[in-house]
């Protein structure tokens, strides 16, 4: 089987979607670890230093661009497969099974993914773009002058609209990952009665609940801190 | 006149000697020879695949949407083979002996011995194809005893042996399709054989999707279209199972052997009402553990569980103490009918007997408790454990019963009644499986050959695959070696045109009647006549009446059947009409055959020929022959007799007491 043949099969493509999705999952963990320092009561020192490190380390910067490419590959292949899947049933059923044979979120991966994509664009425009190309205030820690993204974030989350958007984004993330993690494992061929419980547990609790909830807690926390 | 062409010499060497002296066709010539196979069940699929492998150009036809749907798929129990893996004394000879005896001495010794000989190779072949037979923990194949045999020679794949074997043959067939050796025509129905100079040289088929009539040439034609149990309307056959291909072959000159030999299977789910479209078989294996009974009191309206032990009549155990519930199918079926006719039947229709697992549940429960070393176990606990064991062994059958009847067979006994299941009769063939028409062969249930008057459990699958995998690939060469000079005949040959016109004429006629009744109306009427007068018990008076009634019904059919739609597209009613038209002719022949056979043997029970205790009385002096009927026109058949010579197994009265 040639590489070209392998990656033109639906399963080869799904392998790529799963693998890119997995890479994005690991990124989420790193990203969350850094973001949690936003809630630290230190005037933003830890977060800003972290942001500066991430923004200027050449290796991380390469990875960061790689990340964007990965997101695009993930989205592109997923859209390609979705279009194909739509075409596989030109005439739809008059009566749909609802949730009797599958969970609603497992059927809405494309919708959740699209919401996430919109969320990402806004998220990147607000913070990443501002950090790199925008005009943001700066702070100095131990003689080192770094951009004060902390303040930008705190200011941004005074806006209840943005907070709501972030919560919505994380809800989408949650459902996308509850199915996505398990589904990727299945695509990779990991399906074994001895391990399925563990896979489901990690998918549901770590990626479906803990990570999205912690992400969502940050804007809510900031918002409450400020109106308080 | 009838020459079965059984090779001379001792029984044990007939087949090997035949194989080593039979004519061969060289590979270059095989490529030029075309073979038509009609039907894709075990016989058809295995034959088409094997012949494709040999290099012949094969065309295979089935009326279903895929070759994998043929009704062999529904066989549950298993397949016999004389492997003696269980070290219990089985041998080729024993399988042969049991089959001849089980067939009530109405089968050919030569054929049956060959069948037993190749039975082992079938298992090897199927395992090599990936058929997942049941295995023991040591990784070797598991066997069970089936249908009352004294050895464990039945190989099985849960209750789906037929399915697994058919899918094995189907995959071999699809492989040949992929390799270009076989061309597959699904949703096609054969409607006539084309004969040129007395030899079968092709068929006329209808494309069931477009309605187009097609002509197909072949140097030989193999009819593998299964049995004709649907002549009874209600049977365990699939809805589409039919006699049409075999009947057209018969009308083209192939003799029909022993048409009246029908197997009525004892353990089927009873009829629930007029809407009933088919009957469902419950595997014979259920009789291994279940006990069959009826109340001792007539018209007992109590629930089964409320009838105390002493008021139950375990009639099989009473009548046949040696074999009990495991007597052969024909005996068990007749005994059930006898009880129901005498007024002891159960259920709303009173045409059913109980198959009770209560004792087995307790027995297994106690064994289970014993295994765990537990004593003084409460009865409920024993029942619970017993139910688990029974579920493990028969769960799928119990589930099926529950789905169909809405009753829980773990709590109350199942109701069962005999139903038409298999037809031992079929196209008469010689040792080479050729019919009386040169170049026209019949394999599997479509031929009459190996089961005599009664087929043993787990033998149908064996015969279908033996014919297809291991017999026809050799025997067909003997004919085709002479045909290598026959160039493919163009299908505009007058014989094809004539045959096609005949088919079209029949279809036009059917479509033009536009009468008042549906096809099913006639089919049901025919089924009732057949079941009442040519079913489990027959008598001369009834059979004579039946012949007249069928003739009248046939006339009415051709005057009053209504087929909606048009011929040039998919028309399921037209398909059914053609099949029922053939059943209406076959039914009459079955009655004629039953009427001429003045004896009771196997599935054929003539009420005039029974002893004081109601057991069947065979007449070896006058009826040890195969009745081969020649078609001579409407209602006009000539009987030819092929005398059966028993050199090895001397006929005795079967006794299961």
């Amino acid at each position: 089987m040639k590489w070209s043949q392998f990656f033109s099969t639906s399963i080869g493509k799904k392998l790529l979607v799963g693998a890119t999705g997995f890479f994005l999952c690991t990124f989420l963990i790193v990203h969350l670890a850094g973001n949690l320092s936003l809630m630290k009561q230190d005037g933003g020192e830890a977060f800003n230093l972290y942001a500066d490190f991430m923004g200027h380390n050449p290796l991380i910067q390469t990875l960061a661009w790689g990340l964007k490419v990965v997101i695009l590959i993930h989205a592109f292949l997923a859209i390609q497969l979705t279009i194909r899947n739509q075409a596989a049933r030109p005439v739809k059923y008059a009566v749909k099974p609802g949730n009797s044979t599958s969970s609603w979120y497992s059927r809405q991966m494309a919708v959740m993914g699209s919401i996430l994509f919109i969320f990402l664009v806004i998220h990147l425009a607000n913070f990443w773009w501002a950090m790199h190309y925008g005009d943001i205030p700066s702070s100095t820690y131990n003689g080192k002058q770094v951009g004060d993204l902390y303040t930008v974030v705190w200011t941004a989350f005074e806006n209840i609209g943005l907070v709501v958007l972030y919560i919505a984004g994380m809800i989408a993330l949650s459902f996308h990952l509850i199915h996505g993690f398990k589904s990727a494992m299945q695509t990779f061929g990991f399906n074994h009665p001895k391990y399925n419980g563990m896979i489901n547990f990690v998918g549901l609790w770590l990626f479906g609940i803990v990570i999205p909830v912690l992400f969502a807690v940050i804007p809510v926390y900031i918002y409450y801190k400020q109106i308080a | 006149m009838l020459n079965a062409k059984i090779p001379a010499g001792p029984l044990e060497t007939k087949w090997s000697k035949y194989k080593s002296t039979v004519q061969l066709v060289n590979p270059a010539n095989k490529r030029k020879l075309e073979i038509i196979v009609v039907g894709t069940g075990l016989a058809g699929a295995s034959a088409a695949a094997s012949l494709g492998e040999l290099g012949y150009k094969v065309k295979v036809f089935c009326f279903q949407d895929s070759a994998r749907r043929a009704h062999s798929i529904a066989a549950q129990g298993g397949i016999n083979a004389a492997k003696n893996y269980q070290n219990d004394g089985d041998s080729v000879y024993r399988l042969f002996y049991d089959t001849v005896k089980g067939g009530d001495y109405r089968a050919r010794e030569g054929n049956v011995y060959r069948l037993s000989e190749v039975s082992g190779s079938i298992i090897d072949q199927c395992v090599a194809q990936g058929v997942p037979f049941a295995r023991e923990y040591g990784g070797l194949l598991s066997n069970r005893s089936f249908g009352g045999t004294q050895v464990q020679r039945t190989f099985y794949a849960a209750g789906q042996t037929g399915q697994q074997l058919l899918l094995g043959a189907y995959s071999a067939l699809e492989r040949q399709v992929a390799l270009g050796n076989v061309k597959q025509y699904t949703r096609h129905e054969m409607l006539d054989v084309v004969k040129i100079d007395g030899k079968a040289q092709g068929i006329i088929a209808r494309n069931l999707v477009s309605g187009k009539i097609e002509r197909h040439f072949g140097h030989a034609v193999l009819i593998c279209s299964g049995g004709y149990g649907n002549v009874f309307f209600l049977s365990t056959n699939a809805m589409g199972s039919n006699v049409t291909a075999a009947w057209k072959a018969h009308k083209a000159g192939a003799f029909f052997g022993n048409p009246c030999f029908t197997q009525i299977h004892p353990t089927c789910i009873p009829v629930s009402g007029d809407h009933q479209s088919k009957l469902t078989l419950m595997s014979e294996s259920l009789r291994n553990d279940g006990r069959i009974w009826v109340p001792k009191k007539k018209n007992d309206e109590r629930k089964a569980v409320d009838i105390p032990e002493e008021e139950r009549d375990y009639y099989l155990e009473r009548r046949y103490p040696a074999f009990g519930n495991l007597v052969p199918r024909d005996v068990a079926s007749r005994a059930a009918k006898e009880r129901c006719d005498a007024g002891y039947g159960v259920g709303t229709s009173k045409m059913a007997v109980y198959l009770d697992y209560a004792d087995a549940i307790i027995r297994y429960g106690k064994i289970e408790a014993g295994k765990r070393g537990e004593e003084n176990v409460a009865e409920e606990e024993i029942i619970k454990m017993g139910k688990a064991v029974v579920a493990e062994k028969y769960g799928n059958l119990f589930d099926m019963y529950a789905k169909i009847t809405g009753e829980n067979p773990y709590e109350m006994p199942m109701r069962i009644y005999p139903a038409v299941h298999y037809t031992m009769g079929g196209l008469w063939v010689d040792y080479e499986l050729m019919t009386t028409v040169e170049g026209l062969y019949a394999l599997g249930e479509a031929n009459f050959s190996d089961h005599g008057a009664n087929r043993l459990g787990a033998s149908a699958l064996m015969q279908g695959l033996a014919d297809g995998y291991f017999v026809i690939p050799y025997t067909i060469g003997n004919y085709l070696a002479k045909e290598i000079h026959t160039k493919p005949i163009p299908t505009d040959h007058p014989a094809f045109v004539e045959a096609e016109n005949k088919v079209k004429e029949t279809l036009n006629k059917l479509m033009s009647i536009q009468g008042k009744h549906s096809v099913d109306h006639f089919h049901k009427a025919l089924g009732k006549i057949m079941w009442d007068k040519c079913g489990m018990a027959r008598n001369a008076k009834g059979l004579e009446e039946a012949i007249k009634e069928i003739q009248a019904l046939r006339e009415e059919f051709w005057k009053d059947v209504r087929i909606p739609g048009i011929q040039e597209e998919m028309n399921l009613e037209l398909e059914k009409a053609g099949r029922v038209a053939d059943f209406l002719e076959l039914g009459e022949l079955m009655c004629r055959d039953a009427l001429q056979r003045n004896e009771s043997c196997g599935g054929h029970f003539r009420e005039e020929y029974q002893d004081a205790e109601g057991e069947a009385q065979r007449d070896d002096e006058n009826y040890a022959f195969v009745a081969a009927w020649e078609y001579k026109g409407q209602s006009n058949y000539e009987l030819h007799k092929e005398t059966l010579n028993f050199e090895i197994v001397k006929p005795t009265q079967r006794s299961y007491k």
């Binding site: 009797s100 044979t101 991966m109 | 072949q125 899918l167 399709v177 597959q184 479209s277």
Partner: protein
């Protein structure tokens, strides 16, 4: 019992098709779903109308021919049950039942509720077999097979090829069907020599037929009348990876 049936009627492949509504009365709880259709068809014939075309044959749940999409469910509401084994006891007086054909571009409608499933045959032709000619086999007990594997192979081999997995999948994916065969033969030592080409060829054929891809919703497994597990899909994926990465 009285029921309202809304049934898809379509004259042929080219016809656009539409729903027709029928009232059926005198439906008994003991009838099978298809027997209820028989009764309706008998009436239609007597009224001089064309009966509804639907595929069916064995009517005991094993041939895989029956194929109705009933009120949004492939083979109707009962689990692990084919249409022919579904009985009217599943319904109540006055119910409305909508019956549609399997919907997939790879399963074009031939007439009414009848679809063309030859795509499945072609997937098997691509590699759903072990290449062993008749007569080549060694003794059946020459290769012992671990019971656990043999049982798993049997569970996969129980597939009846009805297409309910495709019908139930929101993507009309044939992964469950294809994987059942790949799995069966991958689990048995006899199938090993061809396992790489088999997986590759069958998957490529499946894609070529226009079936959708798998998004692991599990609807196929939920609707499969034979309870084929999606663990077979995972196994097929592994088989394909091993073909893709090593062969």
């Amino acid at each position: 019992m009285k029921l309202t049936l809304k049934v898809w009627r379509q004259k042929n492949k080219q016809d656009k098709g539409q729903f027709e509504t029928y009232q059926v009365s005198d439906v008994s709880k003991d009838m099978s779903f298809l027997e209820m259709f028989d009764v309706l068809n008998e009436r239609l014939i007597n009224e001089g109308k064309e009966p509804i075309a639907f595929d069916h044959d064995c009517r005991e749940g094993i041939c895989g021919m029956c194929s109705m999409y009933i009120n949004g469910r492939a083979h109707g509401p009962w689990d692990q049950t084919t249409t022919c084994q579904l009985h009217m006891r599943a319904y109540n007086d006055g119910d409305t039942i909508v019956v549609e054909p399997w919907r997939a571009s790879a399963f074009p409608v031939i007439k009414d509720l009848t679809v063309d499933r030859n795509a499945f045959d072609r997937i098997i032709q691509a590699g759903g077999y072990i290449s062993v000619n008749t007569g080549n086999a060694v003794d059946a007990n020459a290769i012992p097979i671990e019971k656990h594997d043999a049982d798993l192979a049997f569970a996969a081999a129980a597939c009846i090829g009805c297409g309910a997995c495709v019908a139930a999948c929101k993507n009309s994916s044939a992964m469950l069907f294809t994987s059942a065969k790949v799995s069966q033969l991958a689990l048995l030592p006899q199938g090993h020599p061809e396992r790489a080409t088999r997986a590759a060829d069958m998957v490529m054929q499946m894609d070529k037929e226009g079936f959708g891809s798998c998004t692991n919703t599990g609807a196929c497994e939920a609707e499969c009348p034979k309870g084929i597990s999606i663990s077979n899909i995972a196994r097929m994926n592994r088989e394909l990876f091993s073909a893709g990465f090593t062969k």
